[in-house]
Symmetry: C2
Subunit: 250 residues, 2 copies
C-alpha cells in the first residue's frame, strides 16, 4: 500500500525557554520506536515553539490601556490579556460582543491574535505566537539536518474560519517545502486546463497532523511520512497570506 | 506504531448516472489490494457523487437571465455557467470583478456555488454539487453496510477560504460520524478548562484525504484508517454551517 502514515510523537519533555526542539523531537521519536526519516514532514504545535522561544508573558507585568480596560470590563475579560492581544495585532478586523478578531503582525487573521491562556504552565501567564514562525521552522529543520535528518517542518496553530463552525489546525510557519501546490496551467484527464486550482498543502498537512495529536493529550508533534515534497529552503508561509487588496472579507 | 494510514483508491471506473458508488468503491479497493475495513473513513470527492446522481447540466439548455448575460459579458464569462451558479445559490455573498462568492442552497459559502466545469466528461457540461450531500453520504454508507463494511463517509469538495491563499478540501456531507469534536468543558493537563475548542474533524479528514487523492490523477476516493470515530447515524454536516447571525464575515 502506498499512501501516507501519520503518527504522533509522545513523551516529549516539558518544554522550557531554551529547549532545543530539534533534539527533543528527534530523541522522543527514537525513544517511541519511530525514529524520524529523511522525507518526513514534522508538524509542531506553535505553543511548544513559543515556550522554547520564551514567548510567554506574566499577566501581572502588563499595564492595560484605557481601551483594553473598558472593553474587557464590558465583556468580563482579563484586561491584561486584552492588552496583549491588541499589542500582538496590527489591526482589529472585527470586534463584536466578546469576539475580537485581529490581524497579527505576521499577517494572520485569527481570534485574539493567537494569544493562548489554556496551558501556559502556570496561572497568570499567556503564550504568544512565535515572533517569526518561519524562522522557528527553519531553526528546527536546521537542527534536524545537523543530526542527519532531512525533514520539512510546519509550525501549526488552531484557528477558526469564516462561515464554518469548528476550528482546524493550519500552518503558521514552514521550512523546507513550499506551502502551496499549484495546478494552474496543468491539464486534467479530460483536457481542461486548471485555471484557479492551487492547494494549500501546508494547511492540509497541519490539519491532518491534528488528527493524531489530539488536544487533551500531550502530543504536540506529529509526523507525516510518505508525502512527496520538493526541497526548497527559500520557502516561507508568505504565499498563504492573502494580500489585503485581494481579500473580500477583511 | 499507532496512528493513521491514508491511501487513495485507484482504478475506479468512469462514473456515470446511476453508478452504485458503494459497490464501485468497495470493488476498486479490493482490486487494488486494499479492501475496506470496518472503522475506515472513506472520503469521496463530490464530483463523482454528482455524476452518479446525474447532477450535470448541458450548458446549451440554459437560458441566462439579463443579469447573468450582462455580468458575464463584462468579465468574459460563459453566461450559461453564470446562470447556473446563480440558480444554485440562495444569495450572492460577494461579487467583485470576475469573482462571485455565493451561499448555496445547502448553506455553503464558496466560489461559483461549487459549480465545476473542469472535468465534466465533455465540453459544454457543468457539474453541480449534490442536491443533499448528507443523503449522498448516507446512501454510500448504507451500501457499504449492506456489503458488510461499517465505514464513515465524507463527501468532500475543494473550497477557497477568507484571508488565506490556496484552497483546501473540506467536508460538504457526512454519514456515520459527527463532523465536529468538541473539547468544551474538558480540562487540559494544566487544569485549564477548554472554553472554545471544538475541532472540525470532518474538514481535517477531508483535507488529509486530498493529500493522497491529488487533483490531476483519477483518484477521487481516499481512505483514512485508524481514526477512532463514534458511530452516529444521525450525523449531518449541519453543525459545521455557521448560522448567519453568528457570522461576522457574511
Amino acid at each position: 500500500m502506498s499512501g501516507l502514515q501519520l503518527f504522533g510523537i509522545p513523551g516529549l519533555p516539558e518544554i522550557a525557554e531554551g529547549t532545543d526542539l530539534a533534539v527533543a523531537i528527534l530523541d522522543a521519536a527514537t525513544a517511541a520506536g519511530t525514529p524520524l526519516h529523511d522525507g518526513d514532514v514534522v508538524v509542531v504545535t506553535s505553543k511548544i515553539v513559543s515556550k522554547a522561544e520564551g514567548r510567554t508573558v506574566e499577566l501581572a507585568d502588563i499595564e492595560p490601556s484605557p481601551f483594553a480596560l473598558a472593553w474587557s470590563a464590558q465583556w468580563e475579560k482579563d484586561p491584561a490579556v486584552t492588552e496583549i492581544v491588541l499589542r500582538e495585532s496590527k489591526r482589529v478586523v472585527r470586534q463584536l460582543g466578546p469576539i475580537l478578531i485581529t490581524e497579527t503582525h505576521h499577517g494572520f487573521v485569527c481570534a485574539n491574535s493567537g494569544v493562548d491562556q489554556s496551558s501556559s504552565g502556570a496561572h497568570g501567564r499567556a503564550v504568544l505566537l512565535p515572533l517569526d514562525s518561519d524562522a522557528s521552522a527553519r531553526s528546527i529543520r536546521a537542527g534536524m539536518l545537523a543530526a542527519g535528518v532531512d525533514a520539512a517542518i510546519i509550525i501549526s496553530d488552531t484557528f477558526g474560519r469564516a462561515w464554518r463552525e469548528g476550528q482546524t489546525d493550519i500552518a503558521i510557519g514552514i521550512a523546507g517545502m513550499q506551502p502551496i501546490t499549484s495546478y494552474i496551467g496543468d491539464v486534467d484527464p479530460h483536457g481542461h486546463e486548471f485555471k484557479v486550482q492551487a492547494l494549500c498543502t501546508a494547511d492540509e498537512l497541519a490539519g491532518a497532523a491534528e488528527l493524531v495529536k489530539g488536544n487533551l493529550s500531550r502530543v504536540p508533534v506529529a509526523v507525516i511520512r510518505g508525502h512527496a515534497w520538493e526541497r526548497d529552503d527559500s520557502a516561507t508561509i508568505a504565499p498563504v497570506l492573502r494580500d489585503q487588496t485581494r481579500d473580500l472579507f477583511r
